[in-house]
Amino acid sequence: MGRLRLYSLVAVAIGLVSGTLSDRTPKPEAVTRGAYRVLEGDFHAHTRFSDGFLSPFGLVLQASRRELDVIGVTEHNYVFPGLLARWFSRLIDGPIVLPGSEITRRGYHVIVLGQTRRVDPDLPLSEQLIRVHAQGALAIAAHPVRKFWPALVPLVGEFDGCEVMHPIAFRGDSPTGWRWSDMVEFYRKGLARNPTFAAIGSSDYHFFSPLGVVRTLLFVRSADEAGVIEAIRKGKTVTFGPHGERFGPAELLKLLDREPYRPRTSDYHYRGRGVLDVAGRTLAFLGFLGFCFLGGRRRRMGA
């Protein structure tokens, strides 16, 4: 290995040590409102087993970094990565992980939470919802924009909730026709049929940093998997729109009026913490470039 390449590798190694030591996020303190413990969750996340970048283990670490108390791992028609993530999170005393899937069909998407057995995506939606509930899991209508309404609206009362807040809310009018206002309207339809229809906010995370950029507040009796499922089933959730709109039951909104709660923020902008962290990141970046593209090897004449 040439000298330049060696120096670059050393730079990467320093960046690795610095990055690993700097990557500390303290466990969030327990927060209560009224008789409830308040948790922050993101219920729609993918791993590299479908179209995400992170592994199931990396996703759990990312959730800790984003100060999330609970996540849903929801691969397309595939449960195994969620079970893997839950196993790992229990091992490291990480966030609560609800294994699940995103039933993905051309006409609709459904987030399933607390699932252990795959539901055949080729069944009719009504049958899928029966099978989801039969295993004690939850069915959340995923980003219910108008193009999915023909399948979703007739069965809106069978869902436990819907995504009323999603990153498409930040994008304005989409050329593909995905509008946040449709999701809000679907939520109101669900609420009219079912007073415990849960308001869910999710990031639909695939890659980069924004896991938890949209999140749900859960008002739970117990901070565990059963407590989270019970809270969603009873509609004890609140999520926030891009301009501070609140979606959730009046009882919980009154609790928040009395004692406001601001969801935790995290380092979405990749800023370093302190000089050493910034230096470590820069070294890791430049070192990688150098390692890939710099040589420095003396070569003999070839034959």
Binding site: G2, L4, R5, V12, G15, L16, S18, G19, T20, S22, D23, R48, S50, F53, L54, S55, P56, F57, G58, L61, Q62, R65, E75, H76, N77, Y78, T104, R105, R106, P121, D122, F207, F208, S209, P210, Y268, H269, Y270, R271, G272, D277, G280, R281, T282, A284, F285, F288, L289, C292, F293, L294, G295, G296, R297, R298, R299, R300, M301, G302, A303
Partner: protein, 207 residues
Amino acid sequence: MASETPVSARWLSDEARILFRPYRGYQQVAGEPIDVAPTVLALRRPLMTLLAIGWFVSMTAAGRLVAWHLGFAAFFWGFLPVYQMIVLTALFAFFPSPYALSWSRRVDLYFSGNGAWYLFMSALVAVCLFAPNVYTAMSALLRYGVLPGALLCAFIWSIVVSHAFFRRGCGLSRGRAALATLLNYLLWPGLIVGYYLLTNQLQPLMR
């Protein structure tokens, strides 16, 4: 196969030489003597690919290089270089090289052609680390077609580099090199599509 050692070899890695001038780069690099054990030769650049993937995942997810992110990403993405090596082995069997190059050396040469992807990943990481507002920057790059365009360029250039590998690195004729390149880009992405079909992630989308 004779080649003169260029001055650039002292400053640029094989990846850089092949990236900027694929045909000449492969001709020079393939002709240079190597004093490395076959096992190391077969593994060093696939491992470098895994390091690059782990680095990219860690830097874009956490904004820093974190040991567990690097390790988990490298492990869970390990199938990618393994797939490529399987496909290469099949192609080497169908298209034997007239040069006296071992299997390890050919694998090492092939993976030296990943420079375009390393550059693309580095550009994305640079945006994450140095843009004042990453969301705004990425949205703009998407909206104005810069990001899709860069991805397309990396993909097209990697096809050119693959062809240069078979043509100048392995010494195949023009037609056989083209066929080997085509098969390469049908087979290993095809294995990935096969995975999505096997796990029934694609079929329901079509119904």
